[in-house]
Symmetry: C2
Subunit: 353 residues, 2 copies
């Protein structure tokens, strides 16, 4: 039984502009001075899965940078989606690529754009989930115990504890998947103790997930079947991937699947959704000014400062700012307006996006 990993790295977004650009989104940035998040994801998976069994899905805009950053993978393991089609088609593509290598593989899917510091704890849990996938007819997820009533994550509702011989991590039967709730509902989820955040991490046996797709998402099952049988898989992907219905894997499969389990993460996790999240991991002074660069602050607090050149920054009498400096653009935003950065980006000339 061999283990495979699929890293989803085709995400895009504008919340880290001006550091992020279309061709270099969050997962390809070194936000913490410890390598890009994609680099960290690959390192996290290595040691669990051999390099030749790690696949990365990206897109044409980002492909060159992904190949540059992750040069140690076999070239054919980095695959650019020919069109943007949400997570279900991407997951199906990854299943097809892995099934073509080993129809009995166990595989783990992780996003490339969340921050996990405790790689050892991640690998211990993932390893146990992969072993369980080999013998248990279930789709497995990893959930994050909520620390606040966040309305911008999906939630997984769970019921009784699942137990199996040798299982050392907490694992639960899943009742259903819940979309992003309103704040009140999120508060109720938090209070109940029966919900975890959906971190977009999946573990399953390839043969089992293909049977589940055949039952619940036949378009995707058919795509995988034809991909594994194709003599020219690259042309097949180019021609057929764009025809798939854009839908999330939660909707297409997880909510309908016969049996889903939810491991509770024993490691830290942060989806790093904005510069405010980045600030939590930067060096911070006594006035809660977080910076990745030498900082002199006078009568200033609660600021987040990032410069990709490492230049000196001086603050005088300013609070609650996000300051991001790059070679060709500089952002100064109020912390409370971080969500509006995308509005600015929509006004910019193409060469700055």
């Amino acid at each position: 039984m061999s283990n495979y990993a699929l890293i989803l790295a085709g995400g895009s977004g504008t919340r880290f502009w001006p550091l992020s650009r279309n061709a270099k989104p969050k997962q390809l940035l070194d936000l913490f001075g410890s390598g890009t998040m994609l680099r960290q994801a690959v390192n996290r998976i290595s040691g669990l899965v051999p390099s030749e069994n790690i696949f990365i899905l990206t897109n044409h805009l980002q492909e060159a940078e992904v190949r540059r950053q992750i040069a140690e993978l076999p070239a054919e393991n980095i695959v650019a989606e020919p069109a943007r089609r949400d997570t279900a088609p991407a997951v199906a593509l990854g299943i097809g690529l892995i099934a073509a290598r080993d129809p009995q593989a166990n595989m783990i899917i992780i996003p490339s754009d969340s921050l996990i510091l405790d790689d050892e704890a991640f690998r211990a849990l993932a390893n146990e989930a992969l072993k369980l996938a080999a013998k248990e007819a279930a789709l497995m997820t990893i959930g994050i115990r909520p620390t606040w009533a966040c309305p911008s994550y999906g939630y997984i509702e769970r019921a009784g504890k699942f137990s199996a011989e040798g299982l050392t991590h907490d694992c639960y039967e899943v009742v259903r998947f819940r979309e992003k709730p309103d704040s009140e509902t999120a508060a109720r989820y938090l209070a109940s103790g029966n919900f975890t955040w959906n971190a977009g991490m999946f573990i399953w046996n390839v043969a089992h997930v293909r049977r589940q797709l055949a039952a619940h998402a036949p378009e995707l099952a058919d795509f995988i079947n034809r991909l594994t049988e194709s003599e020219h898989p690259n042309s097949f992907i180019t021609e057929n991937f764009p025809t798939l219905t854009p839908i999330s894997i939660d909707f297409a499969l997880m909510e309908k699947a016969d049996r889903v389990l939810n491991f509770e993460a024993t490691f830290d996790w942060d989806d790093v959704g904005s510069w405010i999240s980045v600030g939590k991991y930067l060096k911070t002074d006594t006035e809660q000014n977080a910076a990745n660069t030498p900082l002199n602050a006078l009568s200033s607090g609660n600021n987040i400062i990032f410069s990709d050149s490492g230049k000196r920054v001086a603050l005088v009498g300013v609070d609650n700012l996000i300051v991001v400096d790059t070679g060709d653009a500089l952002l100064v935003a109020h912390r409370d307006k971080a969500d509006d950065i995308k509005k600015i980006v929509s006004q910019l000339p193409d060469e700055l996006v």
Copy 2:
């Protein structure tokens, strides 16, 4: 009768950090995209005084940059003060240099760090003052009609109007020089109508000012006498200039002089004392954001933005900021705290000052 000009360009300061540095203070910066203030001062004087009659006083730290910017002057007309000794010694040095060329010269002294846009009006007034200096036994100044009760300028108190044949500009007899007043006193000066701002511009005949110095500031008169007689003026300056008492020309001479006249400026004038002053001359959007660089502002107003690279700047939800970006340092300050920039500068490593 020949006309000479002395441009005082040895000033220093930290209010324009990070753009300004010890070796590149305000007068050597291109703040308005129209050349440095020293460049503009030289251009303003040219057409009034031939190039070979223009002298610039600087200091050793700034000398190389001054020579680079003003390459058209004879090399010997740019002189570095061997020590910092306030304005009276600097003025005496300039008088000595000019007197050595022409003991009967008429000369105008101007600072290099104030902004004047209407060069034609300046030259018309200066030309008339130089003509008057040739025949009238008086020291002449140019005063700026106050527009507000500014407590950080010196004031010149004047009495009755001076008239002479052919004089087309308003000119007054000076009663006395007043140091920087407190705010109440400044308000009284403004209300009286008898005060002008002292802009540090002087016009006189060299022989006349030397007689006045002999009477009121003999140390300086003696320095000038010996400089004009020296066979090795450079060595003489190096040895003797540092021994002069540091004192302002207002104290040393103007307040004691037998007769001082005050021309009222018919041109605009701004001493550009801070980034806030610079903001008045930059391109401004409908929300009063002033910038020298392409700007996208969202829910942001009353900001001053300067980047020496011309990079794009984006503002989101911020007001009343001063943002100054250079290759190796970035300042973000509240407008009301512009005076505290110097406190930050005192904490910085030498290579950034």
